[in-house]
């Protein structure tokens, strides 16, 4: 499958995301924030970083980039979209996902290997995992606290839309230890930790993140 990775001004992890897509057995296609052409891709990754310098709010300016008009439209038709870290923030600002991400409750940037439980595995990004799989991938954020009002949180839990949850101690004050969520259909997933940094033994804490990039192929052939 062709997987587009968007580069915004200030994206940091677009290179690693393209590499992870390739290692996951798919073809990585570089997409540009200022171009509304998705170049025929089958799925899109919005990578981590500090797009537009995080000015105003994280993801607030990126939401209105020309490429996002196409991404929002394609997501509405069912195209798989994965937002990692800053990409998760952009998906919330775009209203493709509910809630918002605010500054870590302890006010410090956090960078560490984080244990997670994968709870929703019927998405095109997580179908390679067993339900309840416990994995360790990199977490690095300054504004990773997931917040939403109580009815929204209850709906996310009730509809099984919590994709990943933090294990051990909560690293950023996210409500109900939520690390990642999906839309109702499951094609749009936002995740604060970085699976693209955990796809090779040489770098990172292992290869537990690879499943996010191999799931696309298996979900198509399932």
């Amino acid at each position: 499958m062709k997987v587009g990775v968007v580069t915004f001004p200030g994206s940091l992890d677009d290179g690693d995301a393209r590499r992870a897509v390739t290692i996951g057995g798919n073809e990585a296609v570089a997409l540009w924030h200022g171009d509304d052409d998705l170049r025929g891709v089958d799925a899109v990754v919005l990578p981590g970083g500090f797009s537009y310098g995080d000015y105003l709010r994280c993801g607030a300016i990126s939401r209105f980039a020309p490429v996002m008009t196409s991404v929002v439209e394609a997501a509405g038709k069912g195209m798989p979209v994965l937002g990692i870290c800053n990409g998760f923030q952009i998906l919330c600002e775009s209203h493709l996902l509910p809630g918002a991400l605010i500054r870590n409750d302890h006010r410090k940037f956090v960078c560490r290997d984080q244990r997670l439980r994968i709870e929703r595995v019927d998405t095109p990004w997580t179908s390679s995992y067993a339900a309840g799989a416990e994995v360790t991938i990199v977490l690095k954020n300054g504004e990773g606290g997931f917040v939403a009002d109580e009815p929204t949180l209850d709906r996310l839990e009730g509809e099984g839309r919590v994709v990943a949850r933090y294990l051990d101690d909560n690293p950023n004050g996210s409500l109900r230890d939520i690390a990642g969520i999906s839309n109702e259909r499951g094609n749009v997933v936002g995740l604060m930790p970085h699976p693209e940094h955990a796809v090779e033994d040489l770098t990172g804490p292992g290869t537990d993140g690879l499943g996010f990039f191999t799931s696309l192929a298996s979900s198509v052939f399932a």
Partner: protein, 88 residues
């Protein structure tokens, strides 16, 4: 020329880590009796034309669409020099 002010504040129920940091610093500087601090943003927006309800609505639309995130923030809009309204 019309100049409007948009104040954006974190919703009361949303944690405000920046406000908390300021709150923690004030007593260390000798300011006693501070019970809470909330930190927000202020935008000053200049528009062509005389002040009008239509312009005020335009600025309100900017606040809704871009300047604030309704999930975590409230905003208030007023013409500079006029009294502030209430946060919605």
């Amino acid at each position: 020329m019309a100049r409007y002010v948009v104040d954006v504040m974190p919703k009361p129920e949303i944690l405000d880590p920046q406000g908390k940091a300021v709150l923690g610093s004030l007593p260390r500087l000798g300011f006693a009796g501070v019970s809470d601090v909330r930190q927000g943003k202020r935008f000053e927006i200049e528009l062509d034309g005389e002040p009008s309800d239509a312009l005020l609505d335009e600025v309100r639309a900017m606040a809704e669409k871009l300047l604030s995130n309704p999930v975590i923030e409230d905003f208030e809009v007023h013409l500079q020099g006029e009294p502030e309204g209430t946060f919605a």
